[in-house]
Symmetry: D2
């Protein structure tokens, strides 16, 4: 149940009262107070009715991330980026952190192309247990140094609640990967951090499942969340690794205030199609792109087949920016 109060102060009073009654899952946005698990207004008889503007009984179960609770776009501010609204953000970097020199070189190219966020994995979710699993903390250190040297934000994946503190000592933005979209313990763990979280869509997650996963993060207090579409599982595995679901982008822009970005590298699976796939997402309304790059794709430790060269990235980012200017 969402109660729209006459002003912020009245709303804050309601929150304070609710907490004194031990009510759980009470959240405020400006002059709105959301009671995430209360369906019956009788429980809210303590509220001063004179200050109530509107009672919204029908709202999505994933309340905090909905526009019903939070009508205007969320803006996420980091040291080097402002994400959301009409802004357009570029994230780039290697799939896996390989060495101090390599991540720095890739970061330099990324920054020159307009990226403000340097991505790279030190903990890699590999389908097979015997594949390279990432460099761990050593990778985090090199990644941090590169980001600091270049004046970029660092973003990296965290795969387990036990790693959240360690990863959080280095990164500026947590990435939650596709396979962990419904790893609820992990979502709660990053929900207790004070840093933005990028939440990738599960392989065949519905809109409701995805928004509910974001709500897990928000329910712990962290509302700095970005969503990232990365291609859904489809039926033609001969030619398509995944299908970039552009159709979900305008749907999400309508339902949620969170920024929506896209990852054409994983959607396409092969470098030749990353540009077309990425530009499609931008034209559909994505507020940013994340691209994997490598100077020598055939020698990449992970997923070289889908890595763009720095030159290809420059061309993609220029076109992406131009398309964003047309559609925003």
């Amino acid at each position: 149940m969402i109660i729209v109060m006459k002003d912020k102060q009245a709303a804050q009073t309601v929150v304070t009262q609710a907490k004194s009654f031990q009510l759980n899952h009470v959240y405020r946005f400006e002059n709105r107070v959301g009671f995430a698990d209360i369906k019956n207004s009788a429980a809210l008889s303590f509220i001063n009715q004179d200050d109530v503007i509107e009672i919204i009984a029908e709202h999505p179960a994933a309340m905090q991330v909905s526009r019903t609770f939070h009508p205007n776009d969320t803006m996420i501010q980091t040291a080097h980026s402002q994400i959301g609204g009409d802004n357009f953000n570029l994230i780039a970097g290697p799939d896996a952190i390989e060495s101090a020199e390599h991540v720095l070189a890739m970061g330099k190219s990324a920054k020159a192309a307009g990226a403000t966020i340097l991505r790279g994995g030190s903990y890699k979710p590999r389908t097979n247990p015997y594949s390279f699993q990432g460099l761990g903390e050593q990778g985090l250190k090199w990644h941090r140094i590169a980001a600091d040297t270049l004046g970029m934000d660092m973003m990296t994946e965290v795969m387990s609640p036990a790693d959240v503190d360690l990863v959080g000592q280095y990164t500026d933005i947590f990435q939650i990967g596709t396979r962990n979209m419904q790893n609820f313990a992990l979502l709660k763990a990053v929900g207790q951090q004070d840093k933005p979280v990028l939440l990738k869509r599960g392989m065949s997650a519905t809109v409701d499942e995805w928004l509910s996963a974001a709500e897990y993060i928000a329910s712990e207090g962290n509302t700095q969340i970005m969503l990232m579409e990365r291609g859904i599982r489809s039926f033609d595995q001969k030619y398509l690794r995944n299908t970039m679901d552009v159709s979900v982008i305008p749907v999400l822009r309508e339902l949620t205030h969170l920024p929506i970005l896209a990852d054409p590298s994983h959607a396409a699976g092969v470098a030749e199609h990353v540009t077309a796939t990425g530009l499609a997402a931008v034209a559909a309304g994505a507020q940013g792109l994340m691209i994997e790059i490598h100077d020598q794709p055939t020698k990449a430790l992970v997923d070289g087949k889908q890595a763009l060269t720095p030159e290809q990235m420059v061309s993609l980012f220029e076109k992406a920016q131009a398309i964003h200017d047309i559609v925003r």
Copy 2:
């Protein structure tokens, strides 16, 4: 088996010889001769080896529509449109033909917005047998008059081999709908016509199935074929009618020389998302868009929910053109 000959004339000689041996499914493109169902070169011992440049034994089963057989883009020329290559084509009109006045009014708007092809259905493939099935020949007549009055090409769906002659008396371009993508008798029937065919993708057709369906048309002699992506069936029916499969567009541009267009009206299913979906397809490389319009969407006889108003179409087409200029 594809035999690349030294020149067109030598290739034509091979074709003539092959026919004298009663060989079937022999096709020529410039200096290439394709034997669609011959896998063993021994059967081709009659060919003068001195004139052979290359023998291509490995080629897609859907040979004629592949770039292996026909490397450069197919260009389709109608009275008012040139489709394919770097061109960008706009098709618009009502879902169903409703009246002489209505199709003319919609055509006027479409033309003003830059469309050169006027679409509209007189034979409607409705899921339910008791729904309005289209006006039949009366609709074809009104459609033809509108197209002639406005100097546009007429495009309309044909649903049965028995209707091909009648529809062919009116239309400039045959449309084969999603549900009929593998209606092989119908594909053969339009394959015997001398007019372009637009072939929509089946609801969950693979790339190979789609190209093979196009090959059915080509196998009867008609190679003026356009492909149209219209959204695939996906798993989230609560928010998405279909998912526009932008990922298939760069794949097709690589595999086939046929023009690829997109239908965001059916992919999105609701007017609010048609623009974003359509622009995404253009950014991915679609060489044209087809849009359903209606001046009073809520009163449309069929699928009004997905119809854009003429004003919305103008805005979409302007942006689409701008994006096409960036990506082509």
Copy 3:
């Protein structure tokens, strides 16, 4: 709108009146009269209210095939088979008719194993236009002779409205294939015939689409319809050609009175898994199975990979019968 009258005679009176008012799509089942496209009871003021037991305003759009209109199971009677209800029917035969001797030999095996219906294709819906397309009328003749010789029903696929009369001169049961599930002209054509129709499910057809396709047949007057589940398109093409959708079987048994059969040969795609897949469908409630057989699978003209040998069929049918006895 469905009107339940006090008895058959009263219902027939309503039908006669309705026709005198030129009402379309009026159908009767026992004492029920269904008006498929009337939603407002005002149009039915001519009905004598004293004879009305119940008015059912909410019913599926595919009215005739629903249990709302026709509560008890449809039983289909042919010369050699009774299909539906608690019966269990076996259909077997070669994928394609190959020769008079071959179809007779396969029929003999099929009959010995308990099959009463001899299947075989003379018009084959092949993905590729250059693949063997079936023997046409010659195949129909051999197929008819084999069925007559053995005292079995003949079932064969028809692919085009133009072929319905010819095929109908030979066959006892029409088969509509997966790719033609929404070939509405074909559905209407077999709907005008006086012979049972087996309607396979489309590759990714929803329940509503499938039942509406059956309704197309019924809307033309032919209500002797069987449904056949044959595997749906799924996402793991490496190991599974299709996924036998057993979950749809109990759903259909609830929604419709039409018999539901299953085709494990096409679902599995490889002979090794046909038995497990077929038995699963029976356990889920399928009222019959159709199996493709070949005495020399590796030499079959079409789809030999999925053909069981006659011996394997015997074992499958014995187990199927035993499982049906447990679950019916």
Copy 4:
């Protein structure tokens, strides 16, 4: 690379040598030694060639769970159950543990119906963060007491690596849920335990992804793994929550030695269809079933809609046993 040695002892010698060379991911099954991440036999020059029977260079990446490495069926022995091979196992219990009395009562019914494993969730993976999340350790205690009282094995879900030790103090079998199939940290954590693990299939996991997830557990040393099919995501959400993928069962029986069970409760989503769905899985070759039961389904704390009553369970288990006798 798999090396088949002349006998167990020779194989063990190879393992000992390999460890002395610091080789990782070396596993032995009887007289076979598997080197999971070695592709070049030159690295294995230390092996005494006289004792080598066969070198298998081509094997699935998920080596340990494949029949290439471990040809015969895995048998899992617990205090009260023997799972795998020709055995058929029944698992039943409430979705969530609700009280000491309730789990005991449900366990009594389950045992009477033939179940040897008592399931129940104390940590519940709920789509929405505000839904009931389970009773935690209190639930584990009640669950343990019920299992001990009845002489049954206890099975319960674990959702986070941090909970593995605690849950392991109570449970006999760990359950990994659908959403965590690729939660690699969790898979590794249960891989270090000395208790059987039941691994449910992800919502749209391919066979290779599923087997690789099992391999994660095995790679840490725990090879007591069962797989559970629980329905895949499909495209018809109006009538089907999930589609029980019976087609995958014979495929898995061929590829892996691990026992395959099925969960018709989650596949069907509604009690009415649980029996048909469960029996289908058994007919397809599943070696056991897991069923959710509740004496008052409408009052269940979680997923009551899909719970069978104890009486319905008895009928299902009798039929399941009879079908298993036919197909095993």
